[in-house]
Amino acid sequence: MENIVSIKSLSKAFGSHRVLKNIDLDIKKGEFITIFGPNGAGKTTLMKIMSTLVEPSAGSISIDGFNVKDDPVEIRKRIGSISHETYLYSELTAEENLRFFGRMYGMDKNHLDARVDELIEQVGLEYRSNDRVGTFSRGMKQRLSIARALIHEPSILFLDEPYTGLDQHAASTFENVLRGLDAQNTTKIMISHNIDRSLKMCDRVLILNNGKIVFDKLRHDVGSIDDFKATYESFVHE
């Protein structure tokens, strides 16, 4: 399978503080990767570099054949981002939010109309589509934020701590929507602290510690959740 993300010798420093140190990583199309690591390990910085929000200090990243430094706009067309922040406007309705972001991605009206209806149904918010987002619960906002991230049918989805603030039911609904993307072969890259939930979802696991990838295995080589928790502790506290 072809690589959709290719990271070579990536480093990032803020002043004298080196956050990422010489990272090499290839991600195949359709893979679901989860990156674990303690606070300050560099996970969010890595994701921000991949999503073109932060420039690397050294090394290169290519996404779907485009370099983050040279073609950020082309990369943004191909990625969707879900974060603990919803990126949604509280004063606009669910539908208006999706339409606004669809227009930002240059979608034509007919395609956008169909896509908005389809996504609102997919995330189960048909009955609240004309309500202002400010009146939504955290779980509903997070479901809508999935719809927002998928509006332009991205080939890569970045998920930065998506479980933050979600209760059990909302987290399950969120996971069902993510599983629905498998048919479209969307590549998913998730950062999480929630080992129990995240490990069940992914097919490749990474541990990032102190700016370096210290563990990289396929899910079926990792063992049980308890085994992985023990492995994680050994890497993080060594």
Binding site: V54, Y87, M104
Partner: protein
């Protein structure tokens, strides 16, 4: 350009629903007019004196009401991380600036449209040279918003943005406020637009310089 209009339309739709910015700007502006009309109560019968007071009163109201609005312009994008969401869209950074500037200009024009008739009523003053006054206000407002929107983006991630924005903005907008005040005074005194061609040229040059400069540096203003 079309994406800038989408951003402006989104901002205006959100603003007209909550009226957070518009209400505070209009109330502030009206308060300035009322306070000055009470302070100068004895002089209000003399239209010559009022035409000398008017430029200062009007531009104080516009400038400080505008600052209230500008401090909210990008701050509203911080809620739910919306600014980051916008930055993730495949649009040129200058489209974000242009969209914000357009919505800020529209809101400023609304405040000015409400303030001027109230000024005429409170100061018992018959405004002459409305066309010339409109040209001065449009050019002055565009210059003010061009630089104000840029500085609003620059200060949005600081904790003291409400304090920092006026400190940075006031010295920079002096070149637009002075010709705007002078031109407003002249136009109210005799209503002849040909008398203010020098001031209008200054305003136009200022508008162009700041608009172009903002397009070039905005990416760095909202960078991480």
């Amino acid at each position: 350009m079309i994406r800038s209009l989408h951003i402006a339309a989104k901002d205006l739709k959100a603003e007209f629903r909550t009226k957070q910015m518009l209400n505070s700007m209009v109330i502030f502006s009206l308060l300035v007019i009322v306070i000055f009309s009470v302070s100068f109560g004895d002089l209000l019968g003399d239209s010559k004196i009022v035409s000398q007071l008017a430029p200062g009163v009007l531009w104080i109201a516009f400038t400080f009401a505008g600052m209230l609005g500008l401090s909210r312009s990008f701050a509203s994008e911080l809620e739910n991380g919306c600014l980051e969401g916008l930055k993730l869209c495949p649009v040129d950074r200058s489209a974000i600036y242009n969209g914000k500037a357009i919505s800020n200009v529209v809101i400023m024009f609304l405040v000015e449209l409400i303030t001027i008739p109230l000024f005429a009523v409170m100061f018992n003053y018959n405004i002459q040279g409305l066309l010339g006054l409109a040209v001065v206000i449009v050019l002055g407002t565009i210059g003010f918003i061009s630089v104000g929107t840029l500085l609003s983006a620059l200060t949005v991630n600081t904790r003291t943005r409400e304090l920092l924005l006026p400190i940075l903005l006031l010295p920079v907008i002096i070149p637009v406020i002075i010709p705007a005040v002078l031109a407003t005074g002249k136009i109210l005194a005799n209503g002849d637009i040909s008398d203010i061609s020098g001031e209008l040229r200054l305003l136009l040059v200022y508008d162009i310089i700041f608009f172009v400069m903002a397009q070039l540096v905005f990416e760095y203003a909202i960078g991480d």
